[in-house]
């Protein structure tokens, strides 16, 4: 096995200990083998590493190591879940409301918005970073949620069919927010239909337990649910939405927006992008539901802190703006990024990207489209090498992109370094996606 041990274990952790997915990744990366470092060396990962090495560091050793940890993990999980549910019940008795946030993307941003906007009016606790599995949520409930919390914002992750139903059963939420549902998890679910089916279970859960009025969805999902759930309410920028972004303009200072919440109001936020204002709109709906002051929520838009790796700006020397949207990207989210770039009117626009991950069978088509789209809207493109790089390059060429304005390099960093001579005052440089998979190089733990 040529992959470094840490890289193998990183991929195993990122694929939620899915051996099939880990093997697929290995097959794809036999030639280019970057050394990756796990974000968090959890006890489980450490045990697997130990067993893997003791058992001879072969593929079958990894399979066995993962299987050996499963029964112990199952017992630990049962115990943690039970205790977390008891704590949750206690919090609810003290008046706490659980609000779940589910969707293919924009969950963490929406959570960050709600946490900030509601915090001026009541005590809010939100699951940290992108923790969204049952075990992560259970630990958070047990260890981190203060006793006087009035609103718990809980992000739900879906890694296998049935995950959301299980999480809803565990949390028993009072309110729910659906963020955009899209092609983010194609590799896990196989088709958009399967993905939609998974999220439909959220609506059904609310319909069965409370009322659909306790759930709100982005209008991005309107076409998926309008027919079967006509009473579902929406937020977004389409006419179907009750809480709606009407107009917006982005400058380096932030985003000015006209919104209907439901009455017409003007908002300002330092956060860049119309899509980000939309992420904050469910706060007005929640304010009504929880009898909070919408006026105070509106004011807190102006103090919203930048969200880590979501169009997070760095105001560099010579009026150069670096936008870090490296957390994640997908075929829909790239449009929001390009809209920001367009509004900012840079002297030169740069995009540095790896492309999309988890695109399944649509990998070639989506990346070809990405290349063409970028060719029409930006000046320079830096690509970190990936199996789909040739598709992006083909799209770039077909879209009329200047071949001399395109570089392909082993990593995001080296791609940027190669483009840097073209950066002039007033340029905007967007780092789009790719963070989860390729960045941290640690080096020498190569295992033959």
């Amino acid at each position: 096995m040529k992959l470094p041990t840490t890289t193998l274990l990183t991929i195993l952790q990122q694929s939620e200990y899915d051996l099939h997915k880990t093997k697929s990744w290995m097959t794809e990366h036999q030639v280019a083998t970057p050394t990756l470092e796990p974000e968090n060396w959890t006890p489980k990962l450490k045990v697997i590493r130990l067993l893997f090495i003791l058992l001879g560091s072969q593929w079958w050793s990894l399979e066995l190591a993962v299987r050996l940890t499963q029964p112990i993990e199952w017992l630990i999980r049962r115990r943690v879940y039970g205790k977390a549910q008891a704590r949750l019940l206690q919090l609810k008795k003290s008046g706490a409301q659980c609000v779940i946030i589910a969707g293919s993307f924009a969950k963490t941003s929406t959570k960050a918005w709600l946490a900030h906007l509601l915090a001026g009016e009541c005590s809010v606790a939100a699951t940290p970073k992108s923790i969204n599995t049952m075990l992560g949520i259970a630990h958070w409930i047990l260890d981190e949620v203060p006793a006087d919390t009035k609103v718990l914002l809980i992000e739900l992750g879906e890694y296998r069919p049935g995950d959301l139903k299980e999480l809803l059963h565990f949390i028993q939420p009072s309110y729910g927010i659906l963020t955009p549902i899209g092609l983010q998890h194609l590799e896990m679910f196989g088709s958009l239909e399967s993905i939609t089916h998974e999220f439909r279970s959220v609506i059904e859960w609310f319909a069965n337990h409370h009322a659909i009025s306790h759930l709100i969805s982005t209008d991005h999902n309107h076409h998926l649910f309008a027919q079967h759930f006509p009473q579902l309410k929406y937020f977004g920028d389409q006419p179907a939405s009750t809480w709606r972004l009407l107009e917006s303009s982005v400058t380096k200072a932030g985003t000015e927006a006209e919104v209907a919440i439901p009455e017409k109001q003007h908002l300002f936020t330092p956060i860049l992008g119309a899509h980000q204002v939309i992420n904050g709109l469910p706060a007005f709906w929640l304010a009504t539901e929880l009898q909070l002051q919408p006026e105070q929520i509106k004011k807190r838009f102006a103090t919203m802190p930048y969200i880590h790796r979501r169009h997070e700006p760095t105001f560099a020397a010579n009026n150069v703006l670096i936008l870090d949207n490296s957390y994640n990207t997908n075929a829909t989210a790239i449009d929001s990024s390009l809209a920001i770039l367009k509004d900012l009117k840079p002297t030169r626009s740069f995009v540095i990207t790896l492309g999309f991950t988890e695109t399944g069978e649509q990998m070639h088509t989506l990346h070809h489209q990405l290349g063409a789209k970028l060719a029409q809207q930006i000046d320079y493109l830096g690509l970190a090498e990936a199996p789909w790089s040739t598709d992006i390059v083909a799209g770039w060429q077909q879209g009329g992109g200047n071949p001399e304005h395109l570089v392909i390099a082993p990593t995001i960093d080296t791609a940027f370094a190669e483009l840097q001579p073209w950066v002039i005052p007033g340029s905007v440089i967007l780092f789009e996606g790719g963070y989860q998979e390729v960045y941290v190089r640690s080096g020498k733990d190569t295992h033959e």
Binding site: A253, E256, A302, T303, F315, V320, I322
Partner: protein, 369 residues
């Protein structure tokens, strides 16, 4: 075309000496060589005035003894208006009490040499933080709650001074009335630390300003350029604390060649709404006029982005780097900013020259009789 002899004055007996050298160097490097013959005027740390072409070379200052520099020619500026002066027009790049508080401005007024301003009164008034507070308060500007005392008062009656500060409410900032930048400023959060902090701040000035901390605000700076009748405010900036910034620079310099990209310490434009931007700019222009300013100044504010309230911190009559970065972001390049400053200096001098400074009188004749 005859080039104007432009005196660029920098240095001085001040804790901000080095910052002033940087401002002076930047300005000389950006002045249009087709329009100006630059005459560098350097005041060393002992107050000796010097000139010489070598002063235009930033490398010189890396090794020079700033208390007794070598290889320079002494420069004398004669206050006699009829004398031949080494330069026709001046831009003052001083920071700190030596050259920003009205002294050098007074000398140039006496010598009849145009300079960008503000004049003696505006410079002196705006430089003293306690007087600035009184002037701003009397004009109705919102500012931090404050009190002040002298070190003499403190030594005579410490309890009374401490009680006055406690009444204001902690935390407070202790500021030397005539200090520059952030030198000598201390934040005090606990009463037990107060006396020792006052003793330290008292090393910088005899008069101490005490300001109550303003919360839920961000700092915003706006530059104002012009002269009465033609005054403009720049886009606002938000200065970024170095600690915040370094963490990001660290993150972004992994790639090696990115140094220089992430070296900014400010957000331009500041992350505030268009309506709040307009309010801050209008307030900045009003303060510029209140202190009888001309040239380019920078005014520091605290703003509450939620409530859109504005608190004035202070005007800086000769801002670091002449705030050129704010003017670049507002569409005026540094060379053009320098041209404008020279223009303002000439306008200011012309306006003064038009004032009546003598009139027919027989008082002396009457006294003699």
């Amino acid at each position: 075309m005859n080039k104007r002899k432009l005196g660029v004055l920098f240095g001085g007996v001040t804790v901000e000496h080095e910052v002033s050298v940087i401002t002076g160097q930047q300005l000389m490097n950006h002045a249009n060589p087709d329009l100006y013959e630059i005459i560098p005027v350097y005041v060393d740390k002992q107050g000796q005035w010097w000139t010489g072409d070598v002063l235009r070379d930033p490398e010189y200052f890396k090794t020079a003894n700033l208390l007794a520099p070598h290889g320079l020619q002494p420069l004398l500026l004669d206050p006699n208006r009829q004398s031949a002066h080494p330069f026709e027009v001046a831009i003052l790049c001083f920071h700190g009490g030596y050259g920003e508080a009205g002294n050098v401005q007074g000398l140039l007024e006496l010598a009849g040499i145009p300079y960008q301003g503000p004049g003696v009164v505006g410079s002196a008034t705006a430089f003293d933080k306690i007087i600035t507070r009184h002037v701003l308060g009397s004009a109705g500007f919102r500012q931090a709650e404050y009190t002040w005392f002298t070190m003499h008062e403190f030594h005579q009656n410490e309890d009374q001074v401490l009680a006055k500060i406690s009444e204001l409410g902690l935390p407070v900032y202790l500021k030397p009335a005539n200090g520059g930048s952030t030198v000598g400023i201390e934040k005090v959060s606990s009463e037990v630390d107060l006396s020792a902090a006052i003793a330290r701040v008292g090393l910088f000035d005899q008069r101490i300003l005490v300001e109550k901390e303003i919360t839920d605000c961000i700092e915003i700076n706006v530059s104002v350029l012009g002269i009465e009748g033609d005054i403009k405010a720049s886009v606002p900036e938000q200065p970024i604390k170095s600690a915040d910034f370094l963490s990001y620079a660290d993150k972004y310099e992994r790639g090696g060649k990115k140094s220089g990209m992430a070296s900014a310490t400010r957000r331009i434009p500041a992350p505030i709404s268009a309506s709040l931007t307009e309010k801050v700019q209008a307030e900045a222009i009003n303060i510029f006029r209140l202190f009888d300013c001309s040239g380019v100044i920078r005014i520091d504010f605290f703003v509450d982005p939620s409530e859109e309230t504005i608190f004035v911190i202070e005007p800086n009559t000769i801002p670091g780097s002449m705030s050129f970065y704010l003017w670049e972001a507002s569409g005026i390049s540094y060379p053009h900013l320098i041209d404008r400053l020279v223009e303002i200096a000439d306008q200011k001098a012309a306006r003064q020259a038009n004032l009546t400074t003598s009139f027919e009188s027989n008082i002396l004749a009457k006294k003699q009789t």
